[in-house]
């Protein structure tokens, strides 16, 4: 039985084999994870579809196309030798002929050469072809075709997002006294490369600004204290802040539709729905799954969905479909203790809300100095289509909904 790279999403054509969990010749059982593959969006496991002896055809670090056979499982019994499979791997030439320096450059660029039209003799992909293929990054491509639109790049505070795939490189031993190794050079993973590309492209291709406000969390905390236990019993999920912020954002987005819009060519596309991306922390880093039609979800449903996403992320089962689309993003730097930060846009979205840590601070309420649990809020927005008035107004509405949650709860 052939083990193929599973389809993970519409715009994903290839993946990198991050790590084989099993060895060639090893006996595997159906549903056991065989390897981890990494795309520029997500890391996931490939599962054995039958019992038998595994023969690996594509090695760790190789870039493989979706649907490519990366291993076979011989289900005739454990004695079957793996030699046959090795022969298959040697035979045939899946890639077009290339020069040695071209092959090295392709490995360096992490490019699968089958996708590139070669201009050399016999369809050879030349170094120039490779360099040209890189020179047209998705951001600069024609606006119309959506082939490689950076649509669903997981957005969140720039730094923390990346699944640092645990490489098996010998860990640098902890330095005692003098440092042993002053630098460690490692090739970027596919995901890291893509993220780097996209973050820079956001900076270059949008007019991003950030506006700040703060929210008094007293009422929300009180609400949670009063109804939290009952909520958990009834819905089997904890009442978190996230669902309240999602609700607050949905309400505010309907009032300020430009924050929920995006630019396509010379048009502004307004969305009559709120697909809200929420950052979910996993063992390997952050991913940003999308709550579809969040404006019509109950708080309980929102919390349940977030919990499901978290579970999927933990098990490497999150699908690209879970990450695609999204009209607005909420990122909670507060879980890492951030006091204040400027979140980065997730194009083509025009707004991203940054939540932060709750701290007791001295504030003035009704001309009196009081101590209140406060949270700074940040909204980064694309100034090309969102005016300062809209951005500030939106954030102020979110603040008001959070400070007086009854209003939005009664309204929905």
């Amino acid at each position: 039985m052939d083990i193929k790279v599973p389809a993970v999403g519409e715009s994903i054509h290839e993946a990198v084999i991050a790590r084989w969990l099993k060895k060639s010749g090893e006996v595997v059982v159906k549903d056991e994870p065989l390897c981890e593959i990494e795309t520029d969006k997500v890391t996931m496991e490939v599962i054995a579809e039958a019992d038998g002896v595994l023969s690996i055809l594509s090695q760790q670090g190789e870039t493989v196309k979706i649907g490519a056979v990366i291993a076979t499982i011989d289900d005739r019994g454990a004695e079957a030798p793996a030699a046959g499979a090795a022969k298959v791997a040697e035979k045939g030439h899946p890639s077009p002929p290339m020069s040695p320096s071209g092959r090295k450059l392709a490995r360096e660029m992490g490019v699968e050469t089958q996708d590139i039209k070669g201009s050399g003799r016999g369809g050879r992909v030349t170094r120039e072809d490779l360099l040209k293929s890189e020179a047209v990054p998705p951001a600069q491509a024609e606006p119309a075709p959506s082939r490689e639109e950076p649509a669903a790049a997981p957005a969140s505070p720039a730094g923390e997002r990346v699944p640092a795939t645990p490489e098996t490189a010998p860990a640098a031993p902890p330095a005692k006294g003098e440092p042993v190794q002053r630098t460690l050079r490692k090739p970027m993973t596919q995901i890291r490369k893509r993220i780097a590309e996209r973050l820079v492209s956001v900076r270059q291709n949008t007019a991003m600004l950030t506006t700040f406000n703060e929210a008094d969390m007293s009422q929300v905390l009180l609400l949670r204290k009063k109804h939290g236990d009952y909520f958990q019993k009834r819905h089997n999920v904890k009442l978190g802040f996230m669902s309240l912020f999602v609700r607050a954002c949905c309400e505010a987005l309907q009032e300020f539709p430009e924050v929920n819009a995006s630019i396509e060519g010379d048009d502004i596309v307004y969305h009559n729905y709120c697909d809200i991306g929420v950052a979910v922390g996993g063992e390997k880093g952050l991913v940003v799954p999308v709550l579809r039609g969040a404006e019509s979800l109950t708080l309980a449903r929102i919390e349940q969905q977030i919990a499901e996403f978290a579970e999927k992320v933990r098990n490497n089962r999150i699908a690209i479909a879970d990450l695609e689309g999204g009209t607005f993003t909420i990122s909670n730097g507060g879980v890492y203790g951030s006091m204040l930060s400027t979140p980065i846009l997730n194009p083509p979205q025009s707004g991203v809300l940054g939540m932060h840590a709750i701290q007791e601070r001295v504030v003035v309420v009704n001309s009196e100095i009081v101590i209140r649990p406060m949270m700074y809020l940040a909204l980064s927005y694309d100034h090309r289509l969102v005016d300062g008035r809209g951005a500030v107004g939106f954030l102020k509405r979110v603040k008001e909904y959070i400070e007086e949650p009854e209003e939005m709860l009664l309204e929905s």
Partner: protein
């Protein structure tokens, strides 16, 4: 001794080790090399490739002057041999090249340590400690690259005595031309050194266990080479085994067991060249738990052994024991340490036997393709039809090109003939580019050159050779 912690400590300054050291220095690493020999360059420069080629070239000139000048219309008195001069020239070639490596080390700021190395393992900080014989303190490095190479295999029935039963090292330095040299092993080394002494006037008999020469080479090439060497006067005892030697009245008597029965052969020198084994003894590998596989050190794609921080290349690891393979691995190993996506193209390792005619090959043999059931086509061209070969009066041999039956990608090229060692480079290049027979056929080759034979052989893949 220095307290310096080097980025890389290379053990062995042979072709694998010195290339790795220089490449490491180029990439900005601080590099130390530990070498037990007094001069750099390893077996290759000191007692292998280089001195043997120096003698092959000298002895060839001698042979030409003796046997071929007349045919070209050059009449000279029969030349006489000054073996001392010939050996001195060889030693000078070796010295110039080993000094050259020393110069390159200096230029690249590579520190050399003289003495045998033993790995003591990593300290608490992960720094590898390498004990150097006779040195007060160990050499310290973040990474250690083992490149100690190999040594001649000794046969139990024929222990080396340094005088009459010898390895290639001694056979490069005989003080006089042996009367009868018995060569045990019909591989590259045996045939090359056998050729040297044959040309200088010795009687040479090669005893080979297998029914053919140069195991693993193309069968047709091996047959042609044997015919040619026989014509030159070399004698062969195929399927034979030397059971032992005895010294009787100053003469050696070798007992050769053949299929039909045993035979005694009188000779004065026995060269045992039956293979080489990796030089791992004394490095302390067992103690560190460095894992072996089939007698060689097991490494991963980064040439990392089973012990973190310890790498190995060349004859120590799997693959053909060839200097150029070790050199490639040395450079690639260091580049990979620095994060470059370098690879050794093991499908394109050329192999050369520097006899006359020379035999050179790259890729798969016809026998291997048949065995694996890979559909192929073959093109062949004999040097006898090549203008330049005619001019040189070197018309023995042929070029054989093997290509995929459909697609035409080259699978292997086998050449026996004049300067095959240089001609094979074109085939290696084309194969490295994933080229086809047609690529060679469409490329202009200068006329008249030997290289036209390769083009004709490529044309012959589609039965369209012009000069055939």
């Amino acid at each position: 001794m220095s307290e310096e912690i080097f980025d890389l400590v290379v053990i062995g300054a042979g072709p694998g080790g010195y290339v790795a050291a220089i490449r490491g220095a180029q990439l900005g690493l601080t590099v130390a090399v530990v070498e037990r020999r007094e001069t750099l360059g390893g077996v290759c420069l000191n007692e292998g490739c280089i001195p043997s080629k120096a003698l092959l070239d000298s002895s060839e000139l001698f042979h030409l002057a003796r046997h071929r000048f007349a045919g070209h219309g050059i009449e000279v008195a029969p030349p006489s041999l000054n073996l001392g001069r010939m050996m001195a020239r060889k030693d000078d070639v070796v010295k110039k090249l080993t000094d050259g490596i020393a110069f390159l080390f200096k230029k690249n700021k590579i520190r050399s340590f003289a003495g045998s190395a033993t790995l003591l393992g990593a300290d608490a900080n992960g720094v590898q400690q390498v004990e150097v014989e006779g040195a007060a303190a160990p050499v310290l490095g973040k990474k250690v690259l083992l490149a100690t190479g190999s040594e001649a295999v000794q046969l139990p029935a024929l222990p080396f005595d340094g005088d009459s039963v010898v390895s290639a090292r001694e056979a490069l330095c005989f003080e006089q031309v042996p009367e009868h040299l018995l060569v045990v092993g019909g591989g590259y080394i045996g045939l090359e050194l056998g050729s040297v002494w044959l040309r200088l006037g010795a009687q040479v008999t090669v005893v080979e266990m297998l029914p053919r020469l140069i195991a693993g080479s193309d069968g047709q090439v091996a047959d042609t080479l044997m015919r040619s060497l026989k014509k030159q006067g070399m004698r062969f005892m195929m399927g034979g085994k030397v059971a032992g030697v005895e010294k009787r009245e100053g003469e050696l008597q070798a007992r050769v067991e053949l299929e039909g029965g045993a035979q005694e052969i009188a000779c004065d020198k026995v060269l045992v060249a039956v293979g080489r084994s990796p030089l791992t003894a004394g490095l302390g590998l067992e103690k560190l738990g460095v894992q072996m596989a089939e007698g060689r050190i097991r490494v991963d794609a980064d040439y990392l052994t089973s012990v973190p921080g310890i790498y190995a290349i060349g004859d120590l690891i799997a693959g053909p024991m060839l200097a150029h393979k070790a050199m490639e691995e040395g450079a690639v190993c260091v580049e990979r340490m620095q994060g470059e996506p370098s690879l050794v193209d093991y499908g394109c390792v050329p192999g050369v036997c520097y006899t006359w005619p020379e035999a050179a090959s790259v890729g798969r043999t016809e026998d291997a393709l048949k065995e694996e059931g890979i559909p192929y086509k073959s093109g062949k061209y004999n040097f006898i039809g090549n203008g330049r070969a005619r001019c040189m009066d070197e018309t023995e041999g042929f070029v054989k090109v093997l290509a995929e039956a459909d697609g035409g990608r080259l699978l292997g090229v086998h050449i026996i003939g004049p300067r095959a060692s240089d001609m094979i480079a074109e085939a290696v290049t084309v194969m490295s580019f994933g080229g086809s027979g047609e690529d060679i056929a469409l490329t202009m080759h200068a006329h008249p050159t030997l290289s036209e034979a390769l083009k004709e052989a490529a044309l012959d893949l589609d039965s369209r050779a012009i000069h055939a």
